[in-house]
């Protein structure tokens, strides 16, 4: 086992407070490839770890703008007469796109009446943006991961325990020193995790 490639070294902490303070120290030491694990999101952990803000919100904005554009163009194009510069197109699905009808005595381009569909499509695609953005940022789905090689972790990380794992990929990683650091921070069950 000792010759197997090493993913990193991990330690168990007994409370959120301990993990939080350990994370602050690991952050200040300048580690880059490490992570903390807890059964629920710990408030303020992104500051203790120095990971910064999540930009999933940008995916939401992108989804929302796509939805809005889709909504307004779908409603407008199917309701207005064919514009002059497209008059020559005689084939393809553009033929069916423009279909001006007067309904309810409203103008062809009735923006107030178009509002609900625009709004709903904006929300719909924003919501998909949030989920897809979250999965992309987290690189999920990913079913196989070295942390699952640690039996204790598998049993308790989603139940009632707190873990900190420093990866071997980190430039500051040195097996013995990192183990010692985790021990000084109050970590127990310090384990070398194989890849």
């Amino acid at each position: 086992m000792s010759n197997a490639p090493v993913y990193g070294v991990g330690a168990e902490f007994k409370s959120a407070t301990d993990l939080y303070h350990a994370a602050e120290v690991v952050r200040d030491k300048g580690f880059k490839w490490w992570d903390t694990y807890s059964p629920y999101p710990i408030h303020g952990m992104e500051n203790a770890m120095g990971t910064g803000k999540s930009w999933v919100s940008m995916f939401v904005l992108g989804g929302g703008m796509t939805g809005f554009t889709l909504g307004i163009s779908l409603e407008s194009l199917t309701s207005i007469p064919r514009p002059e510069f497209l008059k020559d197109i005689q084939s393809g699905w553009l033929l069916d796109l423009f279909y001006p009808l007067i309904v309810n005595g409203k103008p062809y381009w009735a923006l107030p009446a178009f509002f609900p569909v625009m709004f709903e499509l904006t929300i719909l695609l924003s919501a998909f943006g949030a989920i897809i953005g979250m999965l992309i940022c987290n690189i999920l789905p990913r079913l196989n991961h070295p942390v699952f090689n640690w039996e204790l972790f598998c049993k308790r990380a989603s139940d009632d325990s707190f873990f900190l794992i420093i990866e071997a990929a980190d430039p500051l990683y040195a097996e013995e020193e990192t183990k010692k650091l985790l021990e000084e921070l109050g970590g127990t069950q310090i384990t070398v995790i194989s890849k």
């Binding site: 407070t17 992570d35 059964p39 009735a110 569909v117 949030a130 989603s158």
Partner: protein, 479 residues
Amino acid sequence: MAHGTTSVNANSPDYIAAAKQVERPPLVGGGHGFHWITEKICSIIECDTPRWWWIAFFITGAISLLVPLSLIYLVSTGIGTWGLNHPVGWAWDITNFVFWIGIGHAGTLISAILFLTRQKWRTSINRAAEAMTLFAVICAGIFPAFHVGRVWFAWFLAPVPQANAIWPNFRSPLLWDVFAVSTYFTVSVLFWYTGLIPDFATLRDREVKVWKKKLYHILSFGWRSSNRQWKHYEMAYLCLAGLSTPLVLSVHSIVSFDFATSIVPGWHTTIFPPYFVAGAIFGGFAMVLTVMLPFRKIFGLEDLITEKHIDNMCKIILLTGSIVGYAYLMELFIAWYSGNPYEKYAFWNRALGPYWWSYWGMMICNVLIPQLFWVNKFRKNVVAVWIIVWGPNIGMWYERFVIIVTSIHRDFLPSSWGMFKPALNDITLFVGTCGLFTWLFLVFIRFLPVIAIAEVKGVVPEADPHFHGKEDPKGGHHV
């Protein structure tokens, strides 16, 4: 305060006693820790199927079979197997549609609006309430889909290029409804599933059967409970809550546009959107309590869904019920004040016409009965709460019946007046959807965690990284 100009000794017994008095009751009772929460909620799924569950499963399953049976009869024979006819072309089907869709709104309110307003007590009820939303929307969708008459043409509602080149009418509230309800359902599913991801991971880590472990692993997308993941997860959750809030308000507003944009006296009112939204939340919370109180008792979840939770929900019912009562009175006032004889007649006819019993049933169930929640004793008594919430449950159905049927059964010309009587097929379909709703809920409580495990863990005192032991009178908030 300890750092203010007046010196207060935070360790004096007087201070500690005073702090204890104003302390809020804990959201998880009994001082339980993380492992207890996991154990309690997962054991509901992992234990052997209780006998009562099988009995309830078969009874409600049999009732929900009425849905396909009624629909087969309806489609094969014709829409005339419902009691609809001129002038009452919208009757039980639209009543039931609005009734079910309204029930769903409480789930989204709990999951989204209470999240944005940081009401932490939502965590132990949001999973079940969101599930209720989905099942209610499924029941709701059946009615308009078959009300179109020739259901095999229902796809005309989708904006796809067709052979006859006609597009849906984007200026029509009925089409807005299609977009609103389908968006609502989709976003509710996404929101609900996002909440389930970490809980699937918890179930996976406890499971011993390999195939089940693999299934939960796939369902959780391989969730690792890492705080780098939690960061993105929380942002996605926050954004979904922010999106669902205007969405839920828009859905029932758009449902009310079906009525409000017409010229029918009794429907053509600007008060409808807020009045419908308040009514939806009112009826939805009543349904949340109706389904939640029994399973809280059966599974012994009193420490997770505490008296405080029930108390809060009763107060929301009281508030929204009073808003609904105000809207009823305002409608009557405007009918008189507008000086419009048709409007005046519509409301006179509602209260004193042939359907007077439904109007007064609605008034008693929605306006009077919930006022009992002013009394602390009723809010604290689980049995009393469960009985009282049947007021709004029944009253909100009556409300939609009153709005729809009484407004159109008297047309502008007395020669077009008529009455509506439900046919057997109306009744079987509605009863069938009630069975379907309960059946889906039973399946849910057997196979998925009824309480959001990860979220509840986040609201116990030890979850705070600044927590310094249970005896700390200042809580966890050092400066």
